[in-house]
Amino acid sequence: MLKPRKTHHYIRQALKNDCLRAAVGKATDLAVRKRQDLVNETPYWEDLRHHVHHLKSKVLENPEQSLMTFEARCIANGINVHWAEDAAEARQIIVDLAAQKKVKKIVKSKSLTTEEIELNPALEKAGLETWETDLGEYIVQLEGKTPSHLTMPALHLSRYDIGRLFEKKLGIEYTDNPNELLQVARQRLREHFLSADMGISGVNFAAVEEGAFVVIENEANAHLSISIPKIHVAIMGLEKLIPSLSDLPYFLKVLAPSATGQKASSYVNIIGGPQQHLMEEGPEEVHLVILDNGRSNILADASLRETLFCIRCGACLNICPVFRQVGGHAYGWAYMGPIGATLIPLYNGLSEGRYAPFLSSLCGACFDNCPMRIQIPKHLLTLRNRIAESGKTMLIERVGMKIWSMLAVRPRLYRFITGLAAIVQQLIPFDKAFPAPGYVRHRALGRMDSKGFRSRFMDSEDRREGGR
């Protein structure tokens, strides 16, 4: 649940946590460097970005048509399609399905959409034993928290934190040796894979043409979650469509470098239906939950629809100087960083999401790094405008802007007021009385010039000599 009032609290917590910031800095630096190396050796990188943007734009141009075709092809392939209007409906569909099939144990592979709909608490409440099987997600689940990065969920924890966590929650002897910790997790997870009745995954791409969906991963845990249990449930936001599997390579080509700085992801699972006759692998039943949760409205909003082109690679987080200071939890929701700052008000409403678009210096690095060419800074500005115009900003700021607007079209009055301000600044210790104490606590304030450029220029020889 998003708690906008807590934004500043979350930020203060994050800034106090030196360990967190060191970990975030180190991991994002590495991801940025590795990505840049790969981009440098891909001469057609910019063309790829344009191409995948175009593909996504094409398939979402008429989303209803694309979704109808996709659904029909999925059904023909034996996939059970469920439509969920919102988060509550999606949770209910999955909980009901589990009850109907007498499921006791569920293994999950990493899915941000399940974080968005807060699925895990609902499964636990229904008495379903649920295990995250992505290593990072597993750690975060043991910690009882939520992921702090789109692709590196446990980024906020060091190996020492994880060692202590495993000692406490898994009853093992303390170790901070990453390899030993990994082996413990592997062993525990293996037992869960073999005894689970249902596997739940997200979806990276859904191919309209073939009625198949794609799950990308590096740990093979998604592969095991999908192929071992008898029932597989996948959940996707309705924007995950791509035209066809033949377009998939382009997306894969941009995704892996952007996400983890890898040339290619380790595993690409393509699910085109349940186990076939004479085959011994794969689930007997495949269910696909297609989630709206506000997406249709965003797609209908021409100026912001491309925010749904996001493939959740996290490249904008890694390069973002704000994210690198505060980490993912400061945003207070499943999606964080620059793209999160646009999605938070879009999914939760302008009032609930009134701070997120302002948590950016608008430096623009996110757009440069976005493999999908989503113009994040532009969308942040659009959202800021909507938030301000719906009266969700501070009254003093609204009044101040009205006054500024009135003055800025009246140059003489404007000069008089700014001249007055310069005098006032010289008379009183402005550093202490400055209306924004946060700014001056660690920064000396610039001094307003008593005359200003205009007067100085008018008086100078420069003007006389130059003539007009």
Partner: protein
């Protein structure tokens, strides 16, 4: 040729010296100078904070004031980007569109202008100090101006130019961001200042007064050695143009 000056708010009210330095450089290169009187603001602070309704009249006024000028030069990437890139996002009076188009073609950021016109050969002054350069976000990312300031700096004799790493990391100012999320902003400028200090530079050169104000504020408050210097002032000082000034 006549160059009309577009003087951003911070240059007008806090750093007139960088505006005057720009005037001296342009005059040194033989341009006539025209000051468009009654200019106020391009509207960026309000735009970035979401107040388009309030800033549209200000933007429209700006277009009317400058649309007929032959050449317009400003000592700021951020303010030039506002007009060249961000005015397109506004629902402006349609009758102003031809004026905006004309304005966009004739408006330049100072370093972009100097290099585009091949003036760097005539700006080879002398500045025997170690300097580093901060890429301001709008100048580098929105306008794509990265090489030009470096070219100008490196043309100066006896200058010891050292890049900071990374030079294009945001300084954390971001207008109202710097007080809305001041704690985050301070951490960002801290990192910027540490990377400046690591170069051992005496001066951090920049082409935007907003970044320089933020950086200078932190450096001064924390007693750090480096000083900030606008690139217009660097060029003017290296050519020793101050003497001729009033």
């Amino acid at each position: 040729m006549t160059v009309s000056l577009f003087i951003p708010c911070l240059t007008e009210h806090l750093y007139p010296e960088s505006g005057l330095a720009m005037v001296r450089i342009l005059k040194h290169l033989g341009y006539k100078i025209d000051y468009v009187d009654n200019q106020t603001c391009c509207g960026q602070p309000a735009f970035n904070s979401g107040y388009r309704r309030e800033m549209i009249p200000v933007a429209e006024r700006f277009i009317r004031l400058f649309q007929d000028k032959e050449l317009i030069v400003a000592p700021s990437g951020s303010c030039v980007a506002m007009i060249r890139v961000f005015y397109d996002q506004l629902a402006l009076d349609p009758s102003l569109m031809p004026g905006l188009k004309a304005l966009k073609e004739r408006l330049f950021e100072l370093t972009e202008f100097l290099v585009k016109r091949n003036h760097h050969d005539k700006l080879q002054g002398c500045f025997p100090h170690r300097v580093t350069y901060h890429d301001s976000c709008h100048l580098s990312r929105e306008l794509g101006v990265r090489q030009q300031p470096r070219q100008l700096i490196q043309s100066i004799k006896e200058i010891d130019f050292v890049e900071m790493t990374p030079p294009d990391l945001c300084c954390g100012f971001g207008g109202t961001f710097s007080y809305k999320f001041s704690d985050v902003s301070v951490e960002m400028v801290k990192r910027k200042c540490e990377s400046i200090e690591a170069t051992g530079a005496e001066y951090c050169i920049g082409a935007d007064s907003s970044c320089l104000m933020n950086i200078e504020g932190y450096l001064r408050k924390h007693g750090m050695k480096a000083k900030t210097l606008h690139i217009a002032e660097l060029l003017s000082r290296s050519l020793d143009l101050e003497k001729g000034a009033a």
